[in-house]
């Protein structure tokens, strides 16, 4: 027995994403979390290798902005994004801005 209905694979990739997100509402937020995590953790590890120190606020900001752009692109497809998710992504961006601009540690910005 399938956990959820199989999406229609003949309508295009966006239809598959919409079908899955309608069946599993947490699907899109988890994609955004994945994007955020890849940029955030990957960037920090890369900077650690390159310079020897990690600028966490900067990578938090870069990961947030990357996630925001993915979110904005997702608003172009009907049924893929909802307003609370967009609001939460914007709020995380604001939090990243406060952390980056009000912080006193050295960074590469």
């Amino acid at each position: 027995m399938a956990v959820y209905d199989t999406p229609n694979l003949t309508g295009g990739l966006d239809d598959v994403l919409v079908d899955v997100s309608q069946t599993l509402p947490v699907f899109v937020p988890m994609i955004l979390v994945f994007v955020f995590g890849v940029v955030f953790i990957g960037g920090m590890i890369s900077q650690k290798r390159r310079t020897g120190f990690v600028d966490t606020p900067m990578w938090f900001m870069i990961a947030s902005v990357s996630t925001l752009f993915i979110t904005l692109i997702m608003t172009l497809v009907e049924g893929l994004m909802n307003a609370p998710t967009l609001g939460i992504v914007v709020a995380i961006n604001v939090l990243a801005g406060i952390w980056l601009f009000m912080g006193s540690n050295r960074n590469e910005v």
């Binding site: 925001l68 904005l72 608003t75 172009l76 497809v77 009907e78 049924g79 994004m81 909802n82 307003a83 967009l86 609001g87 939460i88 914007v90 709020a91 995380i92 961006n93 604001v94 939090l95 801005g97 406060i98 601009f101 009000m102």
Partner: protein, 142 residues
């Protein structure tokens, strides 16, 4: 001490939030979107509040700068009022408060039960301060 740094940081945060909210609004205006950031009441009200704070900041900072110029070119040739960077500090703090309010409402839903987090955080900061005070008086608290 550090006054300029803090005010520049506050102004940058305010400008960043405006740019961020304007970006979501402009993206919606220029494209056929199905979810518009401007439809969100919290995002919209935050944008309006921060723009109002920046307008007030501009007026206050200009007024203080005019006062500085007037006093510095006076008969006495002495600075009687050096406070150009303090002009508008209140508005900048208000903009930071608005940004934090946006984060609070969106990430925590504005639920008062999450006040527990801030209470614990304030308690930890107070404990650290008390330990530093004790360390200053008596030496290493460890």
């Amino acid at each position: 001490m550090g006054q300029v740094k803090w005010l520049v940081g506050l102004a940058t945060v305010a400008l960043f939030v405006i740019a961020l909210l304007s970006l979501t609004g402009s993206f919606a205006d220029n494209n056929t979107v199905f979810i518009d950031g401007e439809d969100d009441s919290i995002l919209n009200s935050s944008n309006t509040k921060i723009k109002g704070n920046l307008t007030s900041f501009s007026g206050a900072a200009n007024a203080t700068m005019v006062g500085l110029e007037d006093t510095s070119t006076g008969v006495t040739d002495t600075f009687q009022k050096i406070s150009s960077f303090t002009g508008g500090a209140k508005q900048m703090l208000n903009s930071l408060n608005t940004a934090l309010s946006l984060v609070w409402k969106r990430l925590f839903g504005g639920d008062t039960s999450y006040g527990l987090f801030l209470t614990v955080l304030a308690w930890v900061i107070g404990l650290i301060g008390a330990l530093y005070f004790y360390k200053t008086l008596r030496g290493n608290p460890d």
